[in-house]
Symmetry: D2
Subunit: 255 residues, 4 copies
């Protein structure tokens, strides 16, 4: 599978920095480690290397979903891979799933969701800020996942157009604003997921979920701890992301 024009590649420098870019005809990539003519990468394979004008080596890697999430242009705090991966598994989102997401933020989670439901499923996004939709749409399309995503400029409170969806993801300051709408849109047994930074939000959300007819409600946070692994000097890394948010998962029981 050779690299061709318009492909996304992740350049890895010798000092372990990564750059996500698209192989545009006639374009150069500039960094403090030298220039790479992107046309020179065409015909190579992922895993191959190129040399920059300063004779530094860059390895051409295939961008993973995580790479594409982390490299979005950010207008908002993004949802991190550690949380996105739990959302996918807990809500059992896979090829063919029909999923609603609101708010849209910068589209980082959308990339993970769209990738998971592709090619036969659909991601329906709802966001009330037009500038967020614009930026997120660019990010999602840049990640090559635009095909199965729909955008609605609308508030969760005003309801969703879809019915019988498999999962609804709420990333809202007041998640309870979307709970009634989510209940209506979900099929029986469908999953609702809510991500919130504060304890008060989860307390309020869980209360609403119980009243609305959701069951098997679970709340947790996920902490990731990286290690510096070097022969004879292995230890946890000093800095850690202390908190992103709490995830609440629930399933719809029919009334």
């Amino acid at each position: 599978m050779k690299i061709k024009h318009k492909d996304l590649v992740l350049l890895l420098s010798e000092d372990n920095k990564t750059y996500l870019l698209r192989v545009e005809e006639g374009k150069d990539f500039h960094s403090n480690r030298g220039i790479i003519k992107l046309d020179d990468t065409v015909g190579l394979e992922y895993g191959d290397s190129v040399s920059s004008s300063l004779d530094n080596k860059f390895i051409l890697l295939e961008p993973t979903i995580e790479d594409r999430m982390m490299k979005v242009k950010r207008q908002t705090q993004i949802i991190y891979p550690k949380d996105a991966s739990m959302i996918l598994l807990k809500a059992s989102i896979g090829a063919g799933s029909r999923v609603i997401e609101t708010g849209l933020g910068s589209g980082a989670l959308s990339i993970a969701l769209a990738n998971a439901v592709a090619p036969t499923g659909k991601l329906y996004t709802y966001e009330r800020r037009e500038d967020f939709i614009e930026n997120a749409r660019k990010n999602i399309e840049e990640a090559g996942l635009g095909d199965c995503v729909e955008y609605n400029l609308s508030d969760a409170k005003d309801g969703f157009k879809e019915e019988g969806v498999d999962a609804v993801m709420l990333d809202l300051p007041s998640p309870w604003d979307g709970i009634k709408s989510a209940y209506k849109a979900l099929r029986g047994g469908g999953r609702l997921i809510s991500l919130s930074p504060t304890v008060n939000q989860i307390e309020e959300a869980v209360d609403h979920l119980e009243n609305e007819g959701f069951v098997f409600i679970e709340t947790f946070e996920t902490i990731q701890r990286h290690y510096l692994v070097r022969r004879g000097k292995t230890r946890p890394i000093d800095r850690i992301i202390g908190h992103t948010g709490f995830l609440t998962i629930a399933r719809k029981a029919n009334k």
Copy 2:
């Protein structure tokens, strides 16, 4: 989408316990909360309820991937959803991916992997203990994911038959035994993942990965902390799984 014979359902009792079972014609489900005739669930939908002989309500839920992983018959320690979900995202495993997994254990991770690559991808498993393959195969088929899984009674050290795969997952006491074989089987840019409980294993594995030509090597652990969420009494849960294992992820650079 009505429940029919042979479907998998997750029964949720009023005390929040779950039971995963297949709707076999003429069979009953027995618990201390009474008996349910499984035939009575046919024609209902996920989200609906049934009453047991003791008049206790059970809600019929659609089993998620996590439910199916956690309910496997265990002959070994299983890989937990918190780790499985990170494996899927970090290794960018999705519909159509071709993935090798060794050892097979009880097949819990295989369920998550097979579900992710389905319907067009393939999971190639390698395991040297026949009894493990037998048990895992039953678990995977019971979870409804047998179609895209192949089984090899063989040791990672002896190499893999496949070439150009997208990802190789190593769950071995000596992960370095599988690293050379993985390098050969992977396509350029493909991902290797290794899960190990001890620090010494990751130190040794990372050393081998660096020597073998893997790049962008990363090691971390994932900790999940559940919360008891009740109006005015919200707090982290007392008990926590303190440790499962460290995940190491690397990508193949071509030589």
Copy 3:
């Protein structure tokens, strides 16, 4: 410093179990690893060993403060060493300090506090349940720290008799019940510490502290993770105490 009658010793068995006991004349210590005549330990030194009737070795250790805390007879959940040690340091409690503690619980924290203020300081305890006082007093005296502790059968809400104390420790279901009383009892710059299991309690307590004139308010939890350290097989221990409580520390500003 030879062991003599009435001394406290910690017996350590070969399977790493510990037993805290007092060397009573003519008494025996019984365990499934055999009997030890306590008189035989008299004249030995800490660090020496004795053999049981079944020829198992026990090492005689000097009980640390932690040993004495963990071995109290429990009528309540106790405050753990990981939290007690932070209380002592954050509240700057040392020889000569005058400290109020309420409620008393089983007296585990009192042992740490009394040990820290001894010999010239004083620990004033307030507890509204007589049976708790009785049990805690026995535990504290058994730990050899009775001299500098006073007991009051009284509720925090009704105020404390002392003035100008260095620190007040609140371990109450409604910590705000003790905040006004604590403010009155503390000298300027004195420290208030409150331990609570729920997030709601700390939110309410911090609110009251701010209104009452406390400053430099800080809330945190302390998590301890033990490791199984064995050459070539080192890893975090599977089980961990997931949560005990949140500590809030504040200092009194004068009005």
Copy 4:
């Protein structure tokens, strides 16, 4: 207890910043919130306030041991209060204890140790770098704890002069260099504590401890997580210190 010349005070500004300083006659304190004539604080009490030249309020607090540790002039990484407090409790260090510490670093831990053993105990420090001793000594004296500390310009490997001490604290790149010396210096049942950042150090140290005759060996790390507590918006703080070091504690058994 009125503030007088030469006293240490902790100034707390309205934006919750703290400044540790000594009330020197005729001196001013300068900050971007204005100037305070230190003579104006004389005669006030801890908990009282002063106004700066820019009319900003500063509260005069009594420096805790933690304040004094955190404000040392650093030539090295310091040992944090969360670890220092566990060292004190686990090693049962209190008034009258005789303790050896090596290396000395910037003296932050020494401040906690000296404070704990004062007034009747003694802290014997060993450090092979003269510049570290100089800086640490200044820090310890500035904290008002110089009286019970002795300094030795010497390496742990070369042994300690003292005998029968209660505890030995090792903060060395190769803690095993100090283990034989520590065994000789400790009395039976005495505690050895070692702090190390890497897993390999603890593995090696525990091996040496077992061979040397230490028992009841325990290794753990302590993680502290702060919370932002505000009515309706309470959550863990984003940033956290991911790792300082692992603590190993052991007790001397006699041979």
